[in-house]
């Protein structure tokens, strides 16, 4: 057992903190939440320049060939600063493409994801809001060397910025296919933004007889189902790492506030009622951190683990949301205002709680893995 970071990971953490301190300040987070897409593009451009989208892509395909644990260290910092940027979407998609796509597609797409020419985001969920790949309905038919796709995907993050959507469809209402659909200025495609608590762009995607070359197919049949299950698990671990960082920031901010806010002639943080709230918050943040890193490490070793992913995402979803609500209680009235930043964290925590499988979804997966 080694809970410490490697030298490389220490470097990743330090450089991420330095960069995000300046580039993910609360005025930027707020601007993005209010629809400033320019701010997203500018941040993403700098992130691409830092090489972050290439982190876990293999060196053969133009990436840095680093591990899922290394990615988790970076994601913790992104979560801690609420960075409004599609790094999870891009990294998880490239992770799945690397593990499932045919060589030709890998050599075509991965170097372009690494250098920022392609920005790809997962489009899995439909109207029923389910992460179970079996519930997919978006239809595809074969036509020569193309798939023709019709239907609607929902809750797709950063679709406004993305060039591609990693989409699960069904051919002839039967065979599931995971395909990387070029959506940038595509014909037969429409994206409709929804007002979403995450504070980053989330849209519904409508495909109307959109044509995609079959060369863009990542996986077919059972492999497509497995790929989406892995995508959900990996996305869950990634979100857990972000939520661990988010929780850490909220604990620190609440300590800072309660240690300085005075009532009855003393800091409110001297009262046991407040101290015990904070002790519980600190325990929760630590547990989520351990489970997220433990899962990321397991992914680094074994590529995939239902149990580790479920443990991390369940804990992150439930404990960090609760931690945020407790932080509001500790902040009193000021934490209830629009002006105070705390609700930005709470909104993000609640949004992240729902994606890549919510707590109930992962509990069901975990129960099956436990033999229940």
């Amino acid at each position: 057992m080694d809970f410490g970071l490697t030298e490389t990971q220490e470097l990743i953490r330090a450089s991420a903190r330095e960069f995000l301190e300046d580039r993910s300040k609360s005025d930027i987070v707020r601007a993005v939440a209010e629809g400033d897409n320019e701010a997203i593009s500018s941040l993403w451009k700098d992130i691409v320049a830092l090489g972050w989208p290439s982190l876990t892509i293999s060196e053969d395909h133009g990436g840095a060939g680093m591990s899922f644990s290394d990615l988790a260290v970076l994601l913790e910092e992104l979560g801690a600063s609420l960075a409004p940027t599609p790094l999870v979407e891009s990294s998880i998609s490239s992770w799945i493409i690397e593990r499932f796509a045919p060589d030709s597609l890998k050599s075509d797409m991965l170097p372009q994801i690494a250098n920022g020419d392609i920005l790809i985001t997962p489009a899995i969920v439909e109207q029923d809001a389910s992460w179970d790949p079996e519930s997919t309905k978006v239809a595809a038919t074969r036509s020569g060397s193309s798939l023709v796709i019709t239907g609607e995907k929902r809750f797709v993050a950063f679709a406004e910025q993305a060039t591609h959507a990693l989409t699960l469809v069904r051919i002839d209402n039967e065979e599931p296919v995971l395909v990387a659909i070029p959506i940038w200025k595509a014909d037969g495609f429409e994206q409709t933004p929804v007002a979403h608590a995450s504070g980053v762009p989330v849209s519904s995607l409508t495909f109307n007889e959109l044509e995609v070359p079959v060369g863009n197919i990542v996986a077919t049949g059972n492999e497509a189902i497995e790929a989406v299950e892995e995508l959900t698990a990996a996305g869950g671990v990634a979100r857990a790492a972000q939520l661990a960082g988010l929780g850490r920031t909220v604990v620190d901010a609440t300590v800072e506030y309660t240690a300085n806010r005075e009532q009855f002639g003393r800091p409110v943080g001297t009262f046991q009622a407040v101290q015990h709230h904070l002790a519980e918050m600190a325990i929760a943040a630590k547990q989520v951190n351990h489970l997220a890193y433990s899962a990321a490490w397991t992914f680094s070793q074994e590529g995939y683990s239902v149990i580790a992913a479920a443990q991390a995402k369940i804990a992150a979803s439930d404990k960090i949301a609760e931690l945020c609500w407790t932080a509001h209680q500790c902040h009193g009235a000021i934490g209830f205002t629009w002006e105070h930043d705390l609700h930005l964290y709470t909104r993000r925590a609640l949004a992240w709680k729902t994606d890549y499988g919510d707590s109930a979804f992962h509990k069901s997966k975990l129960a099956s893995a436990m033999g229940l």
Binding site: M1, S69, L278, A279
Partner: protein
Amino acid sequence: MRFDFTPEEKDFKRQLSSFLDDVLPTDWHGPADESRDDHWTLNQDIKKGLAERGWLVMSWPKEYGGADSSPMMNTIFAEEMAYRRAPGHDRFGTRMFGPTLMRFGTEEQRKRHLGSIARGEIQWCQGYSEPNSGSDLASLQTRAIEDGNDFLVTGAKIWTSLAHRADMMFMLVRTDPEAAPHKGISLILVDMKSPGVEVLPIVNMAGVHSFNQVVFDNVRVPKSNLVGDLNDGWRAGMTVLNFERSGIDYAAWARAALEEMVDYVNSDEAAVTSAKTDSTVRIKLAELHMEVEAARLMCYDVSYRQGKGEIPSSEASMSKVAASEVYLKVLDYGVEILGMYGVLEPGSDQAELQGRFFKMRLFYTSGPILAGTNEIQKNIIAQRGLGLPRK
């Protein structure tokens, strides 16, 4: 970053597990009740077996018969023992008193006591709490008055686990009633067979005689049994609590109980036929599985930090709170799943799992209370860990 044991650690865990396979009765479910003679005999046998294999005090330095094993190795030892609900661990002698004596005892005291602990021969108990001094331990009133070469000890200790089986007690006594509470306390060693020592059993709410009140009436204790300087016992006494405050036992007990429940729910027992197909049961058991793992990682983190030479005081408190609470959640749910069978007392013919879950739930009500209540632990986390002001 590595979330796995080393080959050496895995190998040790296997050896310990196979030793326990041999020495525990085939139908052993525990937990041990040391007031029962058969369980006490088992305790002694296992303790001797552990001593013979060099495991009982492996955490100690080599010069005292230990193996200088790492904190992680010690955690693996404690975890496996607790996971099997095996008796014979002797936490008072090996984990608390021994290390304290190494640090504060005289050469003569070390020679006299450490060997017998390492060989598993002498049972120690801990005399700290008093009827009027619980969380506020420094208010303790048991008096030791100097009388020639001896102390005369008068007062009472309470909640003393295993006092009814112990040969010796390490205890905190007041030697200077005029000084500030922390400044007038000394640590002394008392032979439990001394005239004037009376052990009064206390039966806990689970119906088990696990702890006692120990009354001292002018008990004569030689001054050579003073550990550390006179009136400097608080420092030594607190060292013990650092050894005491780990959550790993609870985390391991919780994992064992959860696995037992999962097996039971998957079985063909009539009492759980409806639970098996109930999705709320699946969801709840999965949640507990996550909670147990989270608590376990907290405990490993403490050992990892200790291995690096840190004194992870706040982390240790976090692990104790998290693990003792999750254990009760697991037991609560075990009782709940058994429905009307869940409240049958052990010994009842119709009791499922021998009424074990109900009994353990009652017994481990003590978890968040003993060794520093969880409220005290949260104060430590907030003040020492998070740096919140005390005043």
